[in-house]
Amino acid sequence: MTVARNQPFHVQADHDGVDTETYELKIDGAVVATEPVANLQTGVITFDNVMVTQVGNHTAAVNAVGPAGSAESDPLPFDVVPGKPGKPTNVRLTVV
């Protein structure tokens, strides 16, 4: 999947919630968001409003964390590409 820099996206994974307290979303191995197991809905955990600022190749993974340990999903590769430039504002004329 390809997303534009700073474009919000969501990440979902399937899980049974057993022996789990929280879920971590890792981007390139670093935890960027957590969700409590309470937010597991019909076996799906969702991370909304994820954004990545660095253009390039990345990986996402979801880690289920419980009191006795954790288990991490297989990584999902994705690419971040430059986004559309923002609109210039405050255009002004100066007489010289």
Partner: protein, 343 residues
């Protein structure tokens, strides 16, 4: 130890609402041993059984003949403006004279409330239900600006009799935003947070200040979205000694004095949003001993006798009421606090 999450996937923008069995939450809770009463409200016979003057014509379950474009598998509230009562066949032919004779002038109250017996006898009562506010509450509101909608009623002497004295009362305010039918400020009307005008120290009519501070009611407001299921959970721990209100003491710096109080918490959430603490461990004075009934009522003080009232029908759906006895309510419980699913 957890198993590995699987089927990792991504998508642009926010995730779509969850799908699945819309009644899974109800079925799971109704099967628990601590379930006191459960009402799916998905049967006209059940709806009529909790109606004082049946059949109920305001609250109905008939999905096969429901013509609403967003119809739900749930008990439907449909109420025309009072000005149309005399041309509403189901009303003018109703077997009860008091209903049949409702004329075209008067307030816009829904005249056949649902009174669901819960007959709570344990040390705590937990109530949860789903409610879907149609956008008609906003677009057809006319001059109606608030609804008293959900009550828990008490009885002074009878543990199984119909409740009469209102213990809790939630106003659903209607604001000016077109997409929001009800402001959702469930703690806006707290003159009934404590019966007979008696209140715990620190609790005012309009602002029981825990957990976010006096004057912070807007911060814990849950703004309900039109045409979306909202789930509610209401937890009443009965007759708790003032000294046991540890969270209250931590916030106020002083013990709660004056005897025992009910400790009341209330959450609201929907398919896209996490539960919000509207009330959390607020001390409440209850003067009558028996918590007997939950009432879906929809009273308002606006009437068309002076040129006001609704300008079109209001539509809502209710479903899946469960009363639990002595339940442990822990925020984050994946069953109790599961998000509602459309359907």
């Amino acid at each position: 130890m957890p198993t590995k999450p699987t089927n990792l996937r991504m998508g642009l923008g926010p995730a779509p609402p969850p799908t699945g069995n819309p009644h899974a939450h109800f079925e799971a809770l109704a099967a628990r041993p601590d379930c006191l009463r459960s009402y799916s409200l998905r049967s006209q016979a059940q709806i009529n059984s909790v109606t004082k003057q049946p059949p109920n014509i305001f609250w109905t379950y008939d999905p096969a003949n429901d013509t609403h474009p967003l119809k739900q598998d749930a008990c439907k509230l449909w109420k025309p403006p009072r000005s149309q009562f005399t041309s509403w066949p189901a009303l003018v032919t109703h077997p009860h004279t008091a209903i049949k004779s409702l004329g075209n002038l008067g307030d816009e109250t829904v005249y056949l409330p649902l009174r669901l017996p819960v007959h709570s006898s344990g040390s705590s009562l937990t109530l949860t239900w789903d409610f879907w506010w149609g956008s008609e509450f906003q677009t057809n509101k006319g001059t109606v600006n608030a609804w008293k909608s959900i009550y828990v009623e008490t009885n002074p002497t009878n543990p199984t009799g119909e409740g009469s004295k209102t213990y809790q009362c939630f106003h659903q305010l209607l604001n000016t935003a077109l997409v929001i039918p009800a402001n959702g400020d469930c703690c806006a009307h707290h003159s009934d947070l404590g019966e007979l005008g008696n209140k715990a120290p620190g609790v005012t009519d309009n602002d029981p200040f825990f957990p976010t501070g006096l004057g912070a009611a807007p911060l814990r407001t849950f703004v309900m979205q039109a045409n979306r299921w909202t789930r509610y959970l209401f937890h009443i721990e009965k007759a708790v000694p003032g000294s046991a209100f540890t969270s209250w003491r931590a916030f106020t710096g002083a013990d709660l004095t004056g005897g025992t109080y009910d400790r009341v918490s209330f959450w609201a959430w929907d398919p896209q949003r996490d539960p919000v603490r509207v009330l959390f461990e607020v001390p409440v004075v209850r003067d009558y001993p028996f918590l007997n009934t939950q009432r879906f009522s929809f009273d308002c003080s606006t009437n068309n006798s002076t040129g006001g009232g609704l300008i079109g029908p209001i539509v809502a759906y209710a479903r899946n009421v469960v009363a639990l006895n002595n339940a442990a309510v822990v925020e984050g419980d994946p069953v109790l606090f599961a998000r509602p699913i459309a359907g």
